[in-house]
């Protein structure tokens, strides 16, 4: 499989303010800490994790909306980190994003038509009758109507606005879309509609997605492969079927066990994860998960586990990944 997008050793440190004048160095938040993955053509990679784990930052780093501290991002064979702004603009025709908040990501002063054609204007196209017709087509493609083109964002519901956001993202016919919590703000019934729309469009336009989300059930429906992040690092990647049936990283297992059950008959007292995610300002040494991990040993406090292949296609960053398999640790609800 040829990779459309390759991310290698991506690092982002945010400097924060000095807490007092005695500190010599500014404290650094390691938001993304050596993240690598690849996404193939027509593939959907799900990137899941809890708030503050660095998943959205990773999405923004790929688009070069923020500048990486280190690492490489190759898209269609071209290096994006440090690329010439004009080159970057040209490449962004094929690299679009859908944001989480449909209320904040559409300019309230612009008409829907201007909003969805803006990526094309950014590529140097000029307003024309053809483009107006194209905007109408796009609106119909995402389940809205041509008539909506002259309205403003405030006239639409959350689900409809998210459809406008999708129309804008697909306008330049991209090869790759980053969906950053694209359905998290929507009601469940609307969520299901938007997920189905994204899947249909992917089929029709042969696109790849990086689907960033915190809801494992939602990500399961759309992703082919899933990467789980914890405190700036990827702890496990696996094909969807494997990740949900035999997760091997203790954090992935705990995350799956925390998801609400689909039916009351599956209620059970499950192992809950204790405590909360530590601050990325001061991450634990060694494996970031060790203070909450049921399997932690001394080695976990001192040595960073490497992401290594345990089963074909399944990579796990755990010193004890060989011991974590087996039916006992598989959540029965799945």
């Amino acid at each position: 499989m040829t990779a459309l997008l390759e991310v290698e050793g991506l690092v982002k440190h945010f400097e924060t303010r000095l807490e007092n004048w005695l500190q010599r160095v500014k404290p650094v938040v390691k938001a993304v800490d050596n993240v690598s993955f690849a996404v193939g053509e027509r593939e959907t990679l799900g990137l899941v994790g809890e708030s503050g784990c660095g998943k959205s930052t990773t999405g923004r780093l790929i688009l070069q909306l923020i500048e990486p501290t280190a690492g490489a991002v190759r898209f269609m064979g071209t290096e994006l980190v440090g690329a010439d702004p004009r080159e970057l603009r040209r490449l962004r025709k094929n690299l679009q994003i859908i944001f989480q908040d449909p209320h904040a990501s559409l300019n309230p002063r612009m008409r829907v038509e201007e909003i969805i054609l803006e990526p094309l204007y950014a590529q140097g196209e000029r307003p024309s009758v053809e483009l107006t017709n194209y905007a109408g087509e796009l609106l119909e493609k995402v389940g809205l109507s041509k008539k909506h083109a002259q309205r403003h964002p405030h006239e639409f519901s959350g689900g409809q606005r998210q459809r406008i956001g999708i129309a804008r993202a697909i306008a330049p016919k991209p090869k790759f879309i980053i969906c950053d919590e694209a359905v998290s703000a929507l009601d469940v019934s609307v969520q299901a509609q938007v997920i189905n729309l994204l899947q249909d469009l992917q089929e029709e336009l042969a696109m790849s997605y990086l689907f960033i989300g915190h809801d494992l059930a939602v990500v399961k429906h759309i992703a082919d492969r899933i990467a789980v992040m914890y405190l700036g690092r990827i702890v496990e990647t696996a094909p969807k079927a494997r990740l949900y049936t035999s997760p091997r990283h203790p954090y992935t297992q705990a995350l799956l066990a925390s998801a609400p059950v689909p039916h009351p008959r599956l209620r059970q007292s499950r192992k809950r994860l204790h405590g909360e995610m530590p601050s990325p300002l001061n991450p634990p040494t060694g494996c970031h998960f060790h203070p909450r991990c049921p399997l932690a040993q001394d080695i976990c406090k001192s040595n960073d586990p490497v992401l290594r292949e345990i089963e074909p296609g399944q990579h796990v960053a755990c010193h004890f990944a060989e011991l974590t398999g087996g039916p006992a640790s598989t959540p029965a609800a799945l």
């Binding site: 469940v188 299901a192 494992l216 925390s258 039916h263 009351p264 909360e276």
Partner: protein
């Protein structure tokens, strides 16, 4: 179900003036809450579930027009004087809101805010109030509670703040706790911890809980019975197993179908 209900809502309608007419936010809703049970109220944004909760607590703005009855152990709360209502709320009812960020006061310590609730109706010494606050924080699973009393809300995580909210709601040992989307703003691992906590408190203290949520998974996890609301109305009320096995209303069926579980493809609505 021969038990007398703790709370009965009968034909409750709530309207708000809007432009020339008015909007009916809740339309003839009726349901009962029995002692010690966990009743789920599920519905999408705008279905009237939060307005119902606020009506029960008597927290609606004065512009709201109410009809129907809300009976607490047989007494109509809508006919009560301000003072009666205050005593009832203080002794019997507790409420937890969705957004722990905005429902705690940022300029007071967590300890101040719990002690305010503890001493609102009972006179007690500072020391007794502090001890009670420490007890409450301990009960909701906050480690080293005595030290955390000195914290301001911004020093705590979202999950911790929600635990503090629960502690405040429990201050007067209520018999009925209304929790309006208490876990919606939180991550799944923290949500799971809090649902366990609510369930544990119910078992330990016998508190009845009305849990409002848009998430069917949350219902599946903890509810005994569920009231489904859609477009201001109660469209279905059923035991949790019956609801999942044989939903009667097409909307309930649609809601169950569009909840992405980890099993099959979403059907869509």
């Amino acid at each position: 179900m021969t038990q007398t209900p703790l709370l009965s809502v009968r034909d409750l309608s709530v309207g708000f003036p809007a432009g020339k007419g008015h909007v009916l936010a809740v339309d003839s809703a009726s349901f009962d809450v029995h002692p010690g049970e966990l009743l789920g109220v599920v519905g999408e944004s705008g279905s009237g579930k939060s307005v119902t909760a606020l009506a029960i607590m008597g927290l609606l703005p004065p512009t709201a027009q109410l009809r129907g009855r809300i009976l607490y152990e047989g007494d109509d709360m809508l006919g009560m004087s301000h003072r009666q209502l205050r005593t009832l709320r203080g002794r019997q009812l507790g409420m937890i809101f969705q957004e722990p960020m905005t429902s705690l006061n940022p300029v007071f310590t967590v300890g101040d805010q719990i002690m305010e609730a503890v001493t609102a109706l009972d006179h007690m010494s500072k020391k007794a109030a502090t001890d009670r606050a420490v007890d409450l924080l301990d009960k909701v699973g906050i480690p080293s509670p005595r030290r955390r009393l000195e914290d301001y809300p911004h020093q705590m995580s979202g999950g911790m703040r929600q635990r503090v909210m629960i502690a405040i709601a429990l201050a007067c040992s209520p018999r009925l706790l209304i929790a309006d989307e208490p876990t919606t703003a939180l991550d799944v691992t923290i949500q799971a911890q809090l649902l366990d906590l609510l369930n544990g408190l119910r078992e330990e203290l016998g508190t009845a809980i009305v849990l409002i949520s848009h998430n069917m998974g949350v219902m599946a996890e903890v509810a005994d019975r569920v009231v489904v609301m859609y477009a201001s109305r109660v469209v279905e009320e059923a035991g949790i197993f019956q609801l999942f096995d044989e939903p009667q209303h097409p909307y309930t069926e649609g809601l169950l179908g569009s909840t992405p579980d980890m099993g099959e493809q979403p059907a869509g609505l």
